[in-house]
């Protein structure tokens, strides 16, 4: 089991929703209006007058074999428009109840 956190510009919302549906990932948790700044490229997404863009962040826990597919698809989404911005981070799940 892996936990994948996808943090994306809200402009990507529909694409991310489509990704989850296509990969038949049912469970996820979503936070809206998340602020952040990329480590290397891109503009800050702070929902201010200066930096008006804003992110959403999504946490989903999937089987190990899907994790790489998700990452690959996220990379493809990012390729559509790098300026919009989407990132995914994966870590292990030790236990669930």
């Amino acid at each position: 089991m892996k936990a994948i956190m996808i943090i994306f510009n809200q402009a990507h919302t529909e694409r991310v929703e489509y990704l989850l549906d296509r990969l038949e990932i049912r469970g996820y948790t979503l936070w809206e209006n998340v602020q952040g700044r990329g480590s290397i490229t891109g503009v800050p997404h702070l929902s201010t007058h200066t930096w008006p863009e804003i992110n959403k962040s999504l946490l989903t826990v999937v089987d190990d074999d899907i994790a790489d597919t998700v990452l690959e698809k996220v990379k493809r989404i990012d390729a559509i428009s790098e300026e919009v911005g989407i990132r995914a981070f994966v870590w292990d799940i030790l236990k669930t109840v």
Binding site: Q10, A11, H12, T13, E14, R15, V43, H49, T50, W51, P52, E53, I54, I80, S81, E83, V84
Partner: protein
Amino acid sequence: MSIYSSSVNRPVTTILVFIGAMVIGLYSLTRLPVDLYPEMELPFIAVYSMYPGASASDIESNVTRPLEDAVNSVTNLKEMTSSTSDGIAVLLLNFEYGTNLDEASNDVRSSLSFIENYLPEGCEKPTIMKFNSSMMPIVYYSITADESYQGLEKILDEKIVNPLNRIEGVGAVSLAGVPGRKVYIDVDPRKMEAYNLTIEQIGNILRAENMNLPAGYLEMGKTDYPLRIQGEFPESDVLKDIVVTSVNGQSIFLKDVAEVRDTIRETKLDTRLNGAKGMSMYIQKQSGGNTVKVTKEVEEALAELAKDLPPDVQIQKLFDSATFIKDSISNLTETLMYAGIFVILVVLFFLGRWRATLIVIVTIPISLLVAFIYLFITGESINIISLTSLSIAIGMVVDDAIVVLENITKHVERGSRPREAAIYATNEVWLAVLVATLTVVAVFFPLTFVTGLTGVLFKQLGMIVTITIITSVIAAITLTPTMSALLLKWYPIKENASFWTYDGSIRKALDWLDGIYEKLLRWALHHKRLVVISAFIIFLGSMLLLKFIDTEFFPEADESRITATVELQTGTRVEETVRVADRITSLLQEKYPEITLISSSAGADEEGGFASLFGGGGTHSISYNIRLLPVEERTKTMWDLTEEIRGDLAGIPEVVDFTLNSSGGFALGSTTVDVEVYGYNISETNIVAEQLAEKMRSIEGARDVTISRDKSKPELQIIFDQNKMMANGLNTATVATAVRNRVDGMTATQLRQFGDEYDVVVRFKKDAVATLTDIENIGITNPLGQVIRLGEIAEVKETMSPPSIERKRRERVVTVSFTPYKKSLTKLQAEVEQAISDTDIPSGVMLQVGGAIEDQTESFMDIAFLIVVSLILVYLVMASQFESLRIPFIIMFSIPFAFSGVAIALFLTNTTLSIISAIGAVMLIGIVVKNAIVLVDFINLMRDRDHEVYEAIEISGKSRLRPVLMTSATTILGMLPLALSTGSGSELWSPMGISVIGGLIFSTLVTLVLVPVVYAIFSKHGERAKKLALYSEMDFFNGNGNDDQ
């Protein structure tokens, strides 16, 4: 959920809401009446009181003054003038605009009730009369006839007037100069005296003969017959054979002593149409009626009714206000259409995308139709003010949609899907859009608070622009994102597109322009001092131009109609006046092909009723109503023609004085320059007035110098010798009535035919009372049956009758006035004041300048106040948006250059500075600031994104050039048709277009350079304060130990 995301998510609802608004707007549009100006109640109330037999000066002290004192304290009374002539006092009360006249007339009535009892006995109770703009006739017809002239009154009454009166919306149909029928018994005084008869006897005999009487009932068998005596004259021919007396057993018939003429009423008014004998008919509408609709219906009905008239009766339209209204309205509608087309083209040019253009321009019909809903709900009409307002708004309503769309496009181009881009991009800009609109509203809304006449006109302008702009903002943040989500598609920009595509030509040109501008900005930022100084010089220089710009109160419109009053020597007989009138008419007809119709009326109608109460007139005056070809079909303007006609009239020796008025039916305020001479002593004020008039005639550009006080009129007075009268057993009443019956005539009885009554007048035949001797020879029979000659008991003397007395502000006044011709009021004012100071003024006489100059000064004060209010409001709005007191100040640097632009545009086009062009300047405050807001807001943004000041300015300049140029271009081109229009009535609004265009072009150019420079100057020192504070607080990062403290 925000309004824009809900509307994007519910596109059907959003679109249908706007379609619903458009449908209601279209419905309102079909229901709106069409008129020239917004409905306004003319704030006048007249009070008049008759005092038969009293002289003007008696009435002045006993009636006029008490009335004035009583009414003076009524609230909202602005000015009071009065005119007192023999037998009548008329007070004209001028209230402030917007006064409720019902309340005012109640106040006047109650004030009058206090003094009614103190008025002299024999003086009638004062009557109150209200004026209304619907009292102005909307159509004048002129009617001519040959054979049917005699019976014209009856024909018209039955076949035209009554049917027309039945049309809905028609208030009244009146005839003037009608040839009424009368039966004249012209008695030969010698024959009458030979048979021992008097006028009174003949009259009484006629009265006694002309009667019907029920004489009871006759019961015969089973039937009850009413008995009637039928003695009434069936026709006028019977009169001739009436026995008036018998001498030596022989009957003397009326025809033996008199001539019986059944003819048309003798009148001292002679109405002609193009020189042919005629009369005029005018139609008033009901209050609130639709002028254009009523006129159309009247015309249709008249065309149908005219078929039943005898073939020689010709009805011709002399003037109708509907034509001018229709022309102006269709002209403006065209203007509006062109403005719409231009705006669409501009949007297409800058965006280069059909879909984007469509999304932006749908805001135009929506905003305009919502304005019609407002007009419909408030009961206003479509008029030149409301249509002009729409033309002004049309270029501005797309601005908000453009800003929103531009941002959405930016997101789409970056790869967002249109639906999401629509929501997030709107989120980014909606506040800025709202504030930019608020600044415009801050300028237009105060227009609704202007008082006075200008206020009546500009209230609609302010309201309509405010409403359309607010509607456009609402559409921009709901409909524009919704439609973008549905329609926008992303096309990659082709770098190597062929020249014939948009990307290959226009876009490249615009990119090139962006580059040029960036270089220009860089240069300007490194030559700040030079830029600021040259801007200052340009501003000062343009303000100097103001000296060469003429001022005017209100631009006059060429209504293709001239009215003129020509006065001959006072006391000229009407026949002589008619002869001169004919000569002038034929002269004008030959010389000016531009004239299509001349209607003249010479003399005065004693039975004119209402009109004669106020009009001066007399047998010596001729009034002309001249209709010209439509503006488009002639080269000379109405004013040029007026001036040429003035020259012609001055060349006619019989003409003593003349006034030509080119502002037709509806004058906005007064058009003449008046100098009021106050003073009690009539001869002193007369002398001053004469001197002033003489000086004014020498002023260049002063035409039609007139003195309001009438010249004294020659009259014959009969002065009785009381002793001789007593000795002959006569008294004044008997003799006076006798003289009146013989000269003016005695209405003995009425001839009744077909339900109408015609007066039968017994009098001396005309050639028996033609000289002074004839009057002295009038015989009056005394109670003893002796005939006494008037010359034996009275003396006939020729005197000059005193003039009527005019008063203003409860003092006697003479007004010396003139019409300005091609010269500004400002220059004239200086010369008039010079003339006044040159005049020798006796003590007790006071001079004051009034009329157009006074109105103009008042209105310009209003505008100046408006500018101050607008500036403050705009500053407030901006300060709150930027949360800064400094930035609005920077932005407002563009405003002075708007005024420079106005001055330059007015100077180049040789337009006057009038209320209209000044209002254009006021509007600019809001429009111009919008550009600078867009620019400065973006510079701020760039600086927040950590760009250096200069860098931020250059980036912003490059990025914002297109939106700034685009919004300016839509506003400028939207106004262009308004400014260029030459059709009917265009004089009224084109100055506004000219000043807005000039101001906007100039200030846009200056804004693009000067505002960034001023920004740079101001921000050099006050660096990002918040960051500096943090920097010093967290100094330990720099290895400095401020944490030790």
